[in-house]
Amino acid sequence: MGDGLPRPTEDLSELVAMAERLLDGAAGEEIEVVLSRGASTSVEVHDGEVESFTSAGSAAAGVRVLSEGRLGFASCGTLDPEVLRETVAEARDNCRFSEADEHNAIGRPDGVAPVKQVSWFPEVLELGARDKVERAIELERQVIGTDPRVGSARSTSYDDGWGESVVVSTTGIRAESRGTTCSVGTQPLANADGETQIGWGYDVARRPDELDDSRVVRESVERATKLLGAGKPPSARMAILLEPRLAVTLLGVVTGMLSAESVQKGRSPFADRVGETIAAPVLGLVDDPTRSESLGAEEFDGEGLACRANPLISAGVLQGFLYDSTSASRSGVSSTASAVRSTRSIPGPGAQLLVMEPGDRSRDELLAGIGLGLAVESFAGLHSGVNPVSGDFSVGANGLLIRDGQLAEPVQEITIASSIQRLLLDISAVGGDFEWLPSGSGGASMVIDGVAVSGT
């Protein structure tokens, strides 16, 4: 870390004490305080030169006040004691104008013990500025040297940082977490016959020696070059093959529909379907932030409850929804510790760490089983193209066609149309190629049959 940046404290007791002082003076109301602080550095290089070197400390606070069923929230970007007191007063004032709801709730201890995670590696803080710069420059050099069609990268970067946060409340919550992180990333540009394609690759780790730079080089160059010369295929129904990253991306869209809030507000196509078959029997999916192998592992959710494994789909059958304290109260159940938030935002229920259940066939075996298909490289417009209420699905895509079990020519400017409900039922295989992704999720390849792919 550069000079002048805040350093982490020995433990989090100082931050906890600061938060607890804000709870004093609560009268006939419940208060939840989240405080966080950290520091980060970021090196961006281009053409062998440092383009920017950023060093920054950060701090934030978020306060919820619950009074007679009314909720108010306020946040600030500092831990200055005076501003913190104003923020509590502002959250209290905001309460007066929202409407009472008997189910509004903040977290309450439920006796579940957290699964211990080791995510603090102080060696991240010891890496010198020169080492970070050299690492990024070397990554760029390798990206450009791998394939003659790749002459430059839009940017290549090394980032690292540490962060710590606490959640305390008048209801007895006291949760602490801290972690270090570092990452490398690059966006190579590939040129051929006057056409330019941009690729990308990144890796994230708790400490620098766990970053896999060679994988970033390989994958980013492959992504930049594989679509060169892509055309538009004739429209047809075909199988689509999703690599682990994309399988998880698609299931992430599904999971948004399994938030209890969506269900309660009548915005989920899966409301009232618990216990029913909503997907092919090969699909198993759990939201499990306790998995220590994952970079996304956490001890506590956004309301300070211990994280736990929540099965979502088992053998194609819908197991349940994800709840935070308020949505749990509304349904008369317990929170699943699925409150997702940043310090600066109001929490809501959502998935934290998706893990797919792997199948038993290798990716090559999955490929060999496809007569006509599309190995998807990327989806475009996944957020605008999926109606989260009805499940209607129409997104852009590109990738490589599959003919007789072999990867064939690249295609782009195509659309995939279906519905989320249909896609889940048409999953014909899940691969055995399970991996932990840089995003933290655990995924495996997936084949979906008979999807309408339109080109010309």
Partner: protein
């Protein structure tokens, strides 16, 4: 925010070890928002941010540090960190005496949001909900959001620039769900301007809510969109996002400089139909991307990018302009004091033409009429884009006929520019937007008249 003596000290520290350029950017931002959902005014939320970012440029390298503490000691420490990041090592450079930039904000604010009590803001949410539900009994869900912000910024740099701006934004949006035989359909409308609470004197949230409700209701009776290549007519104000995303980004000097744009090296060339004039204008009064200065202290400008189809210029920030020895175009923007500025759009739009919009539709034998595009995605290196169509109709025999739903508009920005064969005289600005680039979001506006383009792909769900 920071007095002039302190600014001068900080700049002197930042450039003490030799710097080609140093800058202090300070910001004080307050915001409030309120949300009504599922019949209830849920949480009200307030936020407060204050801090400064210090930038030091040596050769090609920028050192950057930021702090939430505006005390002199903290600012000087950040200045030293930024200088170290730029690896400044040489004789100190001279700091030009600070000279105040006099740039008026084009938007006039008469009622600052903090002057209005929260109960009045909350009452707007109720009014919107009632109006949306009154449209039809098929409207089953309504959510409405009110948000305001006030952002005061101050910029000082070693070129002698000292500038300030006070940017106020007020936003209201409504989302609806209608339920019928075809399942659940959604509709959304939003409006936002760089003005205060007086926005609601001239714009009724009930009208906005009714439009959002009708959009969902219309889709209940819509049939699934077809698929394939078609002629597309885009309605006034409804498709500016396409030109922002698929053309505007390619005209940003930082992407051009890195070869990540299809428009690199094409100044003076015919890149679009002669009917196309594309403008980026940070001085449009009241529009979402307007302001007095950019986030580098330069006055905002109106910049013509493509004129009658000929590529005239790119958009520039200070850093890229300095490298080329030319003036900035006032497009250096950043999300907050904690972010480095880069080339960003403001209000980007296609100028109106001469055709009667009714004639454009009447001249179209078959195709799709897109009244409104939603969110999307674009590959800036190639210009390939995908946008959701949030309101669209079939054109059959020169007439707008049935509504269609759940379709994407797919194409290539540079190719679309050359395939525009009609531009209407009914220019309108679209909805307020947030443009994301390299992880930073900034407020932008867009606009288009009615226009027609051939050979776009519609990706629908019709069998």
């Amino acid at each position: 925010m920071i007095d002039q003596t302190t600014l001068e000290k900080v700049l002197a520290t930042a450039s003490a070890a030799g710097a080609d350029f140093a800058e202090v950017f300070a910001e004080d931002r307050t915001a409030t928002s309120a949300m009504l959902d599922d019949g209830r005014v849920e949480e009200l939320s307030s936020s407060r941010d204050r801090g400064a970012g210090i930038r030091v440029v040596v050769g090609e390298t920028t050192g950057f540090a930021h702090t939430a503490d505006l005390s002199e000691g903290s600012l000087l420490a950040a200045a030293a960190t930024a200088a170290a990041g730029a690896r400044a090592a040489g004789p100190g450079s001279r700091v030009q005496a600070l000279d105040r930039v006099d740039a008026p904000n084009p938007s006039v604010v008469s009622t600052y949001p903090e002057e209005i009590d929260k109960a009045t803001k909350v009452a707007l949410l109720r009014r919107a909900e009632d109006a949306a539900r009154a449209e039809d009994s098929s409207v089953t869900q309504v959510s409405a959001r009110y948000a305001d912000s006030r952002r005061r910024i101050q910029v000082a740099n070693t070129d002698g620039v000292l500038a300030t701006d006070d940017q106020v934004r007020t936003l209201f949006s409504v989302s609806t769900v209608a339920t019928g035989d075809t399942g659940m359909q959604t509709g959304r409308e939003s409006m936002g301007h760089t003005v205060g609470f007086e926005l609601f004197d001239t714009h009724d949230v009930a009208d906005l809510a009714s439009r959002a409700a009708r959009r969902a209701i219309t889709k209940l009776g819509a049939r699934p969109a077809p698929s394939g290549e078609m002629t597309v007519v885009i309605g006034p104000g409804g498709g500016g996002v396409m030109f922002h995303e698929a053309c505007g980004h390619g005209l940003e000097a930082d992407l051009v400089g890195k070869g990540a744009s299809v428009f690199a090296g094409r100044i003076g060339e015919q890149v679009a139909s002669p009917l196309v004039t594309l403008v980026d204008d940070g001085t449009m009064p009241g529009e979402w991307g307007a302001g007095a200065i950019d986030d580098e202290g330069r006055p905002r400008r109106r910049n013509v990018l493509i004129e009658n189809g000929i590529l005239v210029d790119y958009m520039w920030d200070g850093l890229r302009a300095r490298e080329k020895g030319r003036p900035s175009s006032g497009n250096g923007r950043r999300q907050s004091y904690a972010h480095l500025p880069m080339v960003r759009m403001t209000n980007t739009y296609l100028l109106g033409g001469e055709s009667d919009p009714a004639d454009i539709v009447a001249d179209t034998e078959s195709g799709v009429y897109v009244a409104h595009l939603g969110g999307g995605q674009v590959n800036t290196a190639t210009g390939d884009f995908v946008f959701g169509m949030t309101e669209a109709y079939l054109i059959e025999g020169g007439r707008i006929t049935e509504p269609i739903r759940e379709g994407n508009l797919i194409g290539n920005g540079p190719a679309v520019l050359t395939r525009i064969d009609a531009v209407g005289n009914d220019f309108a600005m679209g909805s307020p937007g947030t443009c994301g680039k390299d992880g930073q979001g900034v407020a932008v506006g867009d606009g288009v008249p009615t226009l027609r383009a051939h050979g776009l792909t519609i990706g629908g769900t019709a069998a």
